[in-house]
Subunit: 185 residues, 2 copies
């Protein structure tokens, strides 16, 4: 029931945005009584922060499976594709709603900031792992950070219009740059 | 009076976010009568789209002045600083509110999408100019696009917490990479 509520929350955020996502709408969509919803998540804030956190983690599990079949040739470009998919996914657009709402809501920011830091750290570690990179060498650390900032920027661009073609061309170039810049062990 | 309304709109978006920005609040803050406001901007959508568009352009004029004093040594890093400032400015955060609201509002998206395309094209052209780059050479075009996507991603990160230090380190590395990657005429 918790999971159903969290999934309905992300769906609502993606379709209706922050202000359209009310606990009433979510309960109805999840087919869960208002009392049960209040029992699991007393406030909208609890619900949304838990939902975005949990589904981001589940999405990372999906990515791990995709990463099991990475090719030898063109591996860097394939890794960028996997990482990029995270930033154009429904969960990213839901997180974007939460993130932007938190900018002007100090109480919400209190719970969103730690979530974002955790997700950021985990994604960074995951990128290092997929690319087989030691971040203490050269400027690897900054190059990986730049890569994730780039993917976040591409995700924001994708939120308004479908620019998959443009994104693909940018990532082709970025993969070449990464192969030149990353110092491998 | 138009300008005062537009400036008050951006201030409201930055402080109160999309849902807190009502035409009533804006009129009051601008010290403009409701009638006059309705005369200049019949709807919230008219007002916000005009305000973000106009103030983005004015901000670009400020950038042009900053760019007049670019140093010979370390020019690329200095250009990144000027461009980056645009993506962590109040106008960017106002635009972010508009952008995210437009994701789930088809009518709003109709007017925001052309604005974003225009601003995107202009910023791209401006980056080429400041860096003295011909985009038909090598993969210059993609590298400049990636730079602007990176700056957008850094701007989104800055919207939630002040990460100026991290941003500065990432841009230091990126300036070195740009100097290696851009093919100059």
């Amino acid at each position: 029931m918790r999971l159903r509520l969290m999934e309905a929350t992300v769906d609502c955020l993606v379709e209706l945005g922050w202000s359209g996502t009310t606990t009433t709408v979510v309960s109805k969509r999840a087919g869960v009584s208002r009392g049960a919803q209040l029992h699991h998540f007393p406030t909208k804030q609890d619900l949304v922060v838990a939902a975005v956190g949990h589904l981001t983690e589940r999405r990372r599990d999906d990515m791990r499976q995709a990463a099991a079949d990475l090719p030898e040739a063109g591996r860097t470009r394939a890794v960028l594709e996997i990482l990029s998919a995270q930033f154009v996914s429904p969960v990213f657009f839901a997180a974007l709603e939460l993130w932007v709402a938190a900018r002007t809501d100090a109480e919400l920011r209190e719970s969103v900031a730690p979530l974002e830091r955790r997700v950021g750290r985990e994604t960074h570690a995951y990128a290092l792992e997929l690319l087989g990179v030691d971040e203490s060498r050269g400027h690897n650390r900054e190059v990986i950070q730049a890569t994730l900032d780039l993917l976040r920027g591409l995700g924001l661009a994708a939120s308004l219009s479908d620019d998959a073609k443009r994104r693909s061309v940018v990532l082709d170039s970025w993969a070449i740059i990464l192969d030149q810049q990353l110092e491998l062990a």
